[in-house]
Point group: C2
Chain length 348, copies 2
C-alpha cells in the first residue's frame, strides 16, 4: 500500500536574509496517516514574533540552517491521532521547541513534542501561550518571594510580556508600576492598561520627573523590576528597587546594553539577572516546574485572567502583509491564521 | 583629680566641599587616661582613599555632618590600655567603622570597636587591610564555588582590590585574566602585575581585539568577573563569562553606569550583583563570616601572599601634599603617616 499525502501550504525561507524578501509560500507533502505515537495536526494560528524575524535574518542565538519553515509558537488541532497516541481528534495542541514549523497548514508531530492546550482557551491566546505568559509567570514566581500588596515595576508594559505581567499581578494581588514609551494618544494606552489591571502607568519622562514623589506617596519600594527594554530604561526601573531587590531582564527592545548604577549594585545590593523561557524550560531539573508553570498559565487563560494582546489576523496566503506590518507597526501583533478553512484570505 | 589631656594634631573638615580647600590641620585635646575598656591609640598610618574624598565632598552614601576628622581606615598602636581592656600596650589595632577619625595623631577608642592587627604585618599593608583585601577575599570566596585552575577575569587590575585579587588567585590556585587601561609604559605595569602573580594581562583594546583567540587558546571561560570600572568595561568582562557565571561590581571608577548585554543576561544566564564590604560586614548574620574573612586576610598578609600597593608616604603635617597628589596621580596611593615620632615632615 503506497503512503498517502496531503498538500500543505507553508511559509519557508531557503536562505537567511530580510524576511520581507526571503520568505516564500511553498507547498509541502505531509503524510496523511500519522504513525503509532504521532498526530496529524492542522495548524490554526501562529504569531509573527520579533524572534521569528531574528531567526529568518540568521541573527538568533540558535541558528538553524535553511531551508526552514517559519514560526516559533502557535496552536493546532489534532485531525488524526496515531493508533497509540495519547491525543484525540479535535484536541488543541502546541509544541514546545525552537524548531517547529508552525507557519504551515498541516504537520505530523510526535506525541513527545506535543503539549495539550485547553480547548476553551481562545485561539489568539492559545497561539501565543508558550513564550510570553510563562515568561511573566516565572519572573513573578521563581526569583523573589512576593506577598500580596508588594510592588513590581516594569518597563515595556504594553508588550506581550508586559500585559501578562499586569494581568498576573492583578490576579496574584501584587501592585504593578508600569512604564511605557511616550506616544500619540498616550491616554488611550494608559486607559487600556488600567482596564487590564495596571495600578500605575507612567511614561519614561513622567517617571523620571515624578518617581521620588510617587514612591513617597506609596511609601514602599518595588521588590522586583522586569526589564524588556535595556539602556537607560533598565537603569530607571532598577534604581528604585528596595534594598536587595531583583531586576530580571527578558528582552532588549532598545537594542542597547542594559545599564545599572554603581549605587544600585554596590550599595542597594540589587541582583540583576535574565531569563529566556526556552532555555529555562529545557534546563536540567526544571521539567516539573515548567509543567507546573504551564498548568497555572492555562488556568489563568481559561478563567480569562490573562488575555491575548491586540492582534491583527492575516490568512497564511497573505503572509507578506503580516511580515511587512510587523516592521511598520509593532504595537499590533500580527497573527497568521492557517487553519484549513481559513488559510486563504478569501475565507477570513 | 583633674583629667589629663594630650594634644593631638588632626586633619579635619568643618563643612563639606573640595577636600583641597576645606581640609585643615587642627589641634585636639585627647584624654591621656583611657577608661576601663578603652585604649589610648597612637595612629600610625592611614591612606587617602577615593572614599575619603567622596566623604569630604559630601558625596558618599553615608553623610556624616561636619565637623569631622578625615580618614576611613588605618592602623594604630596601643599606647595605654584601660584597666579592663583586652589589649596590651604595643598591640597594633584598627577600627572597623565608617566614622573613625584616623587622620589624627592620637585617639581614645572603645575596645568594642578595636580589631587586633598582627604586629608582623607591615604598616603600609596594615593601614589598608580593612577594605581592599576583604573585598577581594569575599568576592573570590562568597559568591561562586571556584576550583583550582578556574579562571577569574577582572578590570581595574592595577587598583588596590585588583592587585589583591591577583595575589589571592595565585594563593588559591585560580587563574587570573587581568584587564588594565592602556597607558605610557604599559609594559612596566604588565611586568609588575605578572610579578605579583597575574596569569594574563591585557589592555582593554588588546582584549577587545584578541579575546576570541585567547579564550580559544585556554579552552575555558571565566566563572567570575570582578568589576571596579563600569561602562563598557563591565560589558567586556561579563560577556566572556561561562554560562551562569557571576559578575560582581565593587566600584565604578569610570563614573559610568555598568553595562551588560541582553545576550549575557538572557541567554548566558549571568548574574550581576555588587558588594560594599562595609555593608556586607554589618549585615545581620554575617559577623562570624566577617571575622573569618579578616583572619584569613591577616594570614595572607603575615605570610606575604598579599602585599601593599605602591604608596607614597607623607607626614600628617604635609597632608595637603597627599590630598593634591591623590587628584593628580591616582596610580600611586597616598599614605598619611601620623605616628607621634613621624607626624611632622622633618622627621620622615
Amino acid at each position: 500500500m503506497s503512503q498517502k499525502f496531503i498538500n500543505s501550504h507553508a511559509v519557508v525561507y531557503k536562505k537567511f536574509g530580510d524576511p520581507r524578501k526571503v520568505l516564500e509560500l511553498d507547498t509541502l507533502k505531509i503524510p496523511a496517516e500519522p504513525e503509532k505515537e504521532q498526530c496529524l495536526i492542522e495548524w490554526l494560528a501562529s504569531p509573527v514574533n520579533p524572534l521569528d524575524i531574528n531567526r529568518v535574518e540568521g541573527n538568533y542565538a540558535f541558528r538553524e540552517e535553511p531551508p526552514v519553515i517559519g514560526g516559533t509558537e502557535g496552536v493546532g488541532r489534532v485531525v488524526k491521532a496515531g493508533p497509540n497516541s495519547r491525543f484525540r481528534a479535535g484536541d488543541h495542541v502546541t509544541v514546545f521547541s525552537a524548531t517547529t514549523p508552525f507557519w504551515a497548514e498541516y504537520g505530523v508531530i510526535d506525541d513527545d513534542e506535543l503539549v495539550k492546550v485547553d480547548n476553551r482557551i481562545p485561539v489568539e491566546l492559545a497561539a501565543t501561550l508558550m513564550i510570553n505568559p510563562p515568561t511573566a509567570w516565572l519572573m513573578l514566581n521563581d526569583y523573589v518571594k512576593l506577598e500580596k500588596g508588594d510592588y513590581v515595576i516594569q518597563n515595556a508594559a504594553n508588550s506581550g510580556v508586559g500585559r501578562n505581567v499586569i494581568e498576573m499581578c492583578k490576579a496574584f494581588g501584587y501592585k504593578s508600576i508600569n512604564i511605557v514609551r511616550n506616544r500619540d494618544n498616550i491616554d488611550i494606552l494608559k486607559t487600556d492598561l488600567w482596564k487590564i489591571g495596571a495600578d500605575h502607568v507612567f511614561t519614561e519622562e513622567e517617571f523620571k520627573e515624578g518617581s521620588r514623589k510617587f514612591l513617597k506617596s506609596i511609601n514602599a519600594r518595588p521588590k522586583l523590576a522586569l526589564n524588556g527594554v535595556g539602556g537607560k530604561s533598565a537603569l530607571q526601573i532598577s534604581s528604585v528597587l528596595e534594598k536587595g531587590g531583583t531586576c530580571i531582564t527578558y528582552g532588549g527592545m532598545s537594542k542597547k546594553a542594559h545599564e545599572f548604577t554603581t549605587s544600585a549594585l554596590v550599595f542597594n545590593d540589587i541582583i540583576a539577572r535574565g531569563i529566556s523561557v526556552g532555555m529555562w524550560a529545557r534546563q536540567e531539573g526544571n521539567l516539573d516546574a515548567w509543567n507546573h508553570c504551564m498548568q497555572e498559565v492555562q488556568k489563568l487563560a481559561v478563567s480569562g485572567k490573562i488575555t491575548a494582546i491586540p492582534m491583527e489576523k492575516v490568512a497564511l496566503s497573505d503572509f507578506k502583509k503580516a511580515i511587512n506590518r510587523s516592521y511598520d507597526d509593532r504595537t499590533v501583533k500580527q497573527l497568521l491564521i492557517m487553519g484549513g478553512k481559513n488559510a486563504t484570505s478569501s475565507r477570513l
